[in-house]
């Protein structure tokens, strides 16, 4: 074990520089960010991941964010076990009929202000699965979505860029004019 530790110390870490906050994500968020969210989030995000019907490909890349290359936690972003501790719900998969209620409940259990990210083509649009007897479709059909990160699955760098955009938006570094534009629609009762 110490040999591996020594080699790591000598060769330096694998961790790469973080990507820039994604421009398109910043634009999407700019329209939605709220002052309350800014005050609350500061420069950290607690994320609760909800697989609402994914093929598990998206989960694999979300997992990869935690590895030493991307080292998500250095940006103040961490995954939490309970929606009650979360600022952000990260939703994957075409929402299945069998998961729709669980997703809605998880959303309701997340304290305000909260953000929802649709991760992957399935959550963004329903993807290949669309709407059927088994699938409700995009995450948006069940919960309001603030940010879309497309891809099948989106590679970790793209996910990271999206998350960093969310932090920047919450940190108030987006032009205030854009930032105060539109407030989010309230969730369905």
């Amino acid at each position: 074990m110490w040999k591996i530790v020594a080699a790591t110390v000598l060769k330096g870490p694998h961790t790469m520089h973080g990507p820039k906050a994604a421009a398109d994500a910043l634009a999407e968020l700019g329209r939605r960010v709220e002052a309350a969210a800014r005050a609350r989030l500061g420069r950290s995000l607690s994320i609760r991941e909800v697989d609402a019907g994914s093929c598990n490909g998206c989960e694999l890349e979300v997992h990869a964010l935690g590895n030493v290359f991307y080292d998500l936690e250095r940006f103040g972003i961490r995954f939490v076990a309970s929606p009650r501790h979360a600022d952000v719900l990260l939703v994957t998969g075409p929402v299945t009929h069998n998961m729709a209620e669980a997703l809605k409940r998880t959303y309701d259990a997340t304290p305000d202000p909260k953000w929802v990210i649709a991760l992957g083509d399935c959550a963004c649009t329903g993807g290949l699965f669309g709407e059927s007897y088994a699938c409700v479709g995009a995450a948006e059909t069940v919960v309001p979505v603030d940010l879309h990160i497309p891809g099948c699955p989106p590679p970790p760098e793209r996910i990271l860029a999206g998350l960093l955009a969310l932090i920047e938006a919450a940190d108030g570094r987006i032009a205030p004019a854009a930032a105060t534009g539109v407030s989010r629609s309230p969730p369905d009762p």
């Binding site: 490909g57 590895n67 030493v68 069998n98 998961m99 059927s132 007897y133």
Partner: protein
């Protein structure tokens, strides 16, 4: 063995269905299906899969020498249950009932399985498909098996879990710390894949097959492609066979590394987790660089592969192998010399050999408990017959054994990659698949175990019906048995060491 105890004898006694390749499919009338049930009680034939069409139920069986699909027409919507004799088929029969409305007479369990009472229709794939009447069923409406006894308490977990994992529900009954029963409830991520595949061209359906279980995208794509090729009486070119194997072995290595890391993480040993995940990332990056997608999704397609491997790509992979081997071996040494870690994995979550055989459980679950099946060897498929590799088998059946099977397989996969890259055939990488009617069955070895896919094509080469059977179907039930008598706190460790697919099972 007596003649009667041979699957071949039984198959010969039934009516052959033409156009099914490469193994026979036969039709069994009611009396023959009943006789089959009796034989299953007496023999060790393995029940690999059970699925249906609107008026017929199919079962894939295997003994030492024969593999065959036996079909039973059931125009009345009923068939004698096989699950009451082979518990591995119980959930399959429940799924067949939910999807097709076909009823297994004398079934061991009459609760729904995939249908949670939330779909707008009932029997969505069946002849009797109908709009669902009444309000959606409440989640609490599911009749979990009762447990009686003093001091037992119930712990419901899920479907949304604490970690970044797929949804499923686990109902524990514990006596103090000790698990007295675990009951799984699955089906949450049922996406209707089989129904979406119907009527699609083979190429379109292949994209759905690639998303049956994202972590096994290569394996599922391969099983689907091989089934289509069998149905259409064609084969992939030799270079495609080799590249498919390159991708399949990369997928195996990446997943085994991920599992190894995650198991150690669940035993609170972050060091190995960090290093194993770094190695996994190197594999995914190499895959991305060589094949244009980190998980190699949609790269294996009917007729061959969707992209060639450049000379530069081959060199990248060779460098990866050279770098991987010493770093991986060093990690194995760390694992094997940490008593605090071994204390968690050794003798934890034991699966019994007879159960593994009874359920025909494949992959590391089977091989860690004495069942040495590996589809790359038996029935085998190209290019593995020309490659040198060992299939590890242990008998302990505990978490540690499942970890060791993965270790050995990573080493063997690295060896396979080296052989493949040293002798890559030249030539085309894809042939067009003729659009003709036929039925095909394929079994390939994914990282988790054998993926079995059955496909029926119509005259234009469109999918009439497809059933991809993930290895998880045969492994999930054994997790319930493996956790018995263990402490609740060891469940994550056991679960990770199985790492069954929710999506692959729920379809």
């Amino acid at each position: 063995m007596t003649d009667e105890g041979r699957l071949e004898t039984f198959v010969r006694g039934c009516e052959a269905v033409p156009g099914h390749r490469p193994w026979p499919r036969v039709r069994a009338g009611r009396a023959q299906w009943r006789a089959l049930a009796d034989l299953l009680a007496k023999t060790e034939w393995e029940l690999l899969a059970l699925w249906a069409e609107p008026a017929e139920v199919h079962v894939a069986l295997r003994d030492e020498t024969t593999l065959a699909v036996v079909s039973h027409p059931c125009p009345e919507g009923r068939f004698p249950s096989l699950g009451r004799i082979r518990p591995g088929a119980i959930r399959m029969e429940r799924a067949v009932h939910d999807l097709f409305g076909l009823l297994a007479e004398g079934r061991a369990d009459d609760r729904p399985w995939l249908d949670h009472g939330r779909w707008p229709v009932t029997a969505p794939l069946g002849k009797e498909r109908a709009p669902r009447l009444g309000p959606p069923r409440e989640a609490a409406d599911y009749g979990f098996l009762p447990v009686e006894g003093e001091g037992l308490h119930e712990i419901p977990v899920g479907p949304v879990h604490a970690g970044i994992i797929e949804p499923g529900h686990f109902r524990f009954h514990a006596n103090g710390e000790t698990v007295a029963r675990l009951e799984e409830r699955l089906g949450y991520v049922h996406k209707g894949i089989e129904s979406l595949m119907q009527g699609r061209t083979a190429d379109e359906a292949a994209r759905l097959a690639a998303r049956v279980s994202g972590d096994s995208t290569v394996a599922h794509s391969l099983a689907f492609a091989r089934a289509v090729e069998a149905a259409a009486e064609t084969t992939a070119p030799p270079r495609a066979d080799a590249l498919r194997a390159v991708m399949a072995e990369l997928e195996r290595i990446a997943n085994h590394l991920g599992d190894f890391g995650a198991i150690c993480n669940d035993a609170s040993f972050g060091f190995i987790h960090a290093h194993a995940m770094a190695l996994r990332e190197l594999v995914l990056r190499a895959a991305g660089a060589c094949f244009g997608h980190r998980l190699m999704m949609d790269r294996v397609v009917p007729g061959g592969v969707a992209c060639d491997l450049s000379a530069k790509g081959a060199a990248t992979l060779k460098r990866l192998i050279a770098e991987m081997r010493p770093r991986f071996e060093a990690l194995v040494e760390v694992y094997d010399n940490k008593p605090s870690l071994l204390d968690r994995t050794v003798t934890t979550g034991v699966t019994l050999t007879h159960l593994v055989h009874r359920f025909a459980a494949g992959g590391y679950v089977g091989r860690a408990a004495g069942r040495g099946m590996d589809a790359r060897k038996v029935p085998g498929y190209p290019p593995y017959e020309r490659l040198d590799f060992e299939v590890p088998v242990l008998i302990e059946g505990d978490v540690n054994a499942r970890v060791w099977i993965r270790f050995t397989e990573i080493g063997e996969s690295l060896r396979l990659l080296a052989q493949l890259l040293d002798h890559l055939p030249s030539g085309e990488v894809r042939r067009s698949v003729p659009g003709r009617a036929g039925e095909g069955l394929a079994i390939v070895e994914g990282f988790r175990g054998d993926v079995l896919t059955w496909v029926a094509l119509d005259g234009e080469g469109r999918v009439r019906r497809c059933h991809p059977r993930d290895p998880s179907w045969l492994q999930w039930p054994l997790l319930e048995a493996a956790i018995l008598g263990n402490i609740v706190a060891d469940f994550p460790l056991c679960n990770k060491s199985f790492n069954c697919s929710y999506s692959g099972h729920d379809l």
